[in-house]
């Protein structure tokens, strides 16, 4: 299966949900997906296009566009194509459906994106911070406008 046939299959199945899809090289595809239907798209990718390997899932903050992106990078064990799929979420209330039901190892990636960017994953089995201590919860430290923790460093405690 090559990149062009994957893109035509994907846009043919989800004409409404997939937009800005393009082929970057023989083995890289980029696309954007509407947040409402990300689970169906992922399930189609996994079951029909053999994208069985979730490389990673991450967040990225774009304050000038007032958006937070959730990026899904999904590879395959059968063909060399890797798809980079993005869902754009509003920055003040980012919410998206969790894909743990489709890709089991998305669990920790979503927990990390939640604690770092504040993206709420709906229907996640156990959405709680993974790496950060409790007192940093709610600060969303990897957003671009985060100014550090002025009241929580050792210098200010002394």
């Amino acid at each position: 299966m090559d990149a062009n046939s994957i893109i035509s299959s994907l846009t043919g199945k989800f004409p409404e949900d997939i937009y800005d899809a393009s082929v970057e090289s023989d083995i890289r595809i980029v696309a954007k997906v509407k947040p409402e239907n990300v689970v169906e798209v992922c399930r189609y990718l996994k079951e029909d296009l053999s994208f069985g390997h979730l490389c990673c899932e991450l967040g990225a903050d774009y304050p000038d566009r007032n958006e937070i992106e959730t990026v899904y990078i999904i590879g395959s064990y059968d063909h060399p194509v890797v798809i980079t799929m993005k869902a754009l979420l509003p920055r003040d209330n980012p919410e998206i459906e969790s894909i743990v039901a489709v890709y089991w190892n998305a669990n920790w990636y979503e927990r990390e994106t939640y604690e770092m960017y504040g993206v709420k994953y709906l229907n996640h089995p156990d959405l709680k911070p993974l790496l950060l201590p409790e007192e940093l919860h709610g600060e969303w430290p990897w957003r671009k406008d985060y100014k550090g923790f002025p009241n929580k460093t050792a210098r200010n405690l002394v």
């Binding site: 490389c55 991450l58 990225a60 990078i73 060399p80 190892n105 950060l132």
Partner: protein, 374 residues
């Protein structure tokens, strides 16, 4: 994990500091007698925020930070970062530099496997083995030191090339070290395959089938031990791997014993790759001549864009997603380490096993907390 305990059940907290654990993390296991009923992992004890740090460092400074993600994988970590920037900026790497990169990355794969195997043998109660592997690893570390000038955190790669050329007599040194190491690897294999207590503790323990492993997102030696040959060096070749003759080592059993066997075979295969490279390496520059970026240029602007690049680290697939906005620092960097998905599989894998087997299973996965926490 449900924290309520029934009759004859208890919750055992292993970690954050424990001889079995490679770095601080915590494993809470619920036991019924000696059997694991349920378990839960707590991470974050050495979270360093490396991805955020990288956003605030220039591209040249970033190479040094990438080493610190995990010192065993330092070379492949650098390779994935440098490879991302080279893809974004369209820098061509001269052939000699590519060969040198393959040599140093394969050497570092061998030393990582040696340490992993030593630690793992210690976990299953085979402490002498740790002394053997550390002793044999030392020659290899000197070889790496002679090329990069550092034992663990090398900062050796540059955008478009490498820092230094091979030192004089490197080929002879490598031949001498590999001669000893081949004998050592054979000896380890003999020790592992003849020890009946060791086999009783590892054969049939922690079995993963290929389908389950793929579903859980496991990569690297644990996946190859299930019989499924997935290796980024073959499936998405970078550097000069497509010109080299090597095979992807697999094993069919998928248990603890098989994972160690795969690492033993991979060490032999890596030595084979390095020897080929030393025979084939062409003369020429180790740094591109017509590049806008100097070798030590402190300021380097990369064209805007985004890229996902992946390489095969000793522990599996190491990927990086990088967004550049055209400034001298990356806008967003995501490190996708191989251990991150592998460590997640521990709770389902240790369900129903005995307490003593937790150590064998976790050790055979060759996990690294520093890389998971970043």
């Amino acid at each position: 994990m449900d924290k309520t305990v029934g009759p004859s059940e208890m919750i055992l907290q292993i970690g954050p500091q424990h001889p079995m654990l490679f770095g601080p993390w915590r494993l809470n296991v619920k036991l019924r007698g000696e059997t694991v009923v349920d378990s839960e992992i707590e991470m974050g004890y050495i979270h360093k925020g490396i991805e955020k740090i990288l956003e605030n460092k220039t591209y040249l400074q970033g190479i040094t930070i990438m080493d610190r993600i995990c010192y065993l994988e330092a070379m492949t970590n650098e390779e994935v970062y440098v490879g991302c920037v080279e893809k974004l900026a369209g820098i061509e790497v001269p052939e000699r530099a590519q060969y040198i990169r393959v040599i140093i990355e394969e050497l570092s794969r061998i030393q990582s496997h040696l340490l992993a195997m030593g630690e793992y043998a210690e976990f299953v109660g085979f402490v002498t083995m740790f002394m053997y592997t550390i002793r044999d690893r030392e020659d290899l570390m000197s070889l790496i030191d002679s090329l990069t000038g550092a034992r663990v955190t090398h900062s050796f790669l540059r955008y478009g090339g490498v820092k230094d050329d091979l030192p004089d007599g490197f080929k002879e040194d490598a031949k001498y070290v590999f001669g000893n190491l081949r004998k050592a690897v054979d000896k380890y294999e003999e020790l592992f395959s003849t020890d009946s207590i060791y086999k009783a503790r590892t054969k049939g323990v922690g079995v993963l089938t290929a389908d389950v492993a793929k579903d859980l997102g496991v990569c690297g030696p644990p996946l190859r031990a299930t019989g499924f040959a997935f290796d980024v060096r073959k499936d998405e070749p970078y550097l000069v791997y497509k010109d080299l003759d090597f095979k992807v080592c697999t094993h069919t059993d998928g248990d603890v014993y098989a994972r160690v066997q795969v690492r033993l075979d991979e060490m032999r295969e890596s030595m084979h790759i390095v020897e080929q490279c030393l025979d084939q390496i062409p003369n020429g520059p180790i740094f591109p001549e017509n590049t806008p970026y100097g070798k030590r240029s402190p300021v380097m602007r990369v064209p805007p864009g985004e890229v996902f690049h992946r390489v095969e680290a000793p522990r599996g697939e190491m990927g990086m997603y990088m967004v550049s906005d055209g400034s001298d620092k990356p806008y967003r960097v995501k490190v996708r380490g191989p251990v991150y998905p592998t460590l997640q599989t521990l709770p389902p894998l240790i369900k129903g096993v005995q307490v003593a087997d937790i150590v064998a299973i976790a050790g055979s996965m060759d996990t690294c907390t520093s890389e998971v926490d970043r």
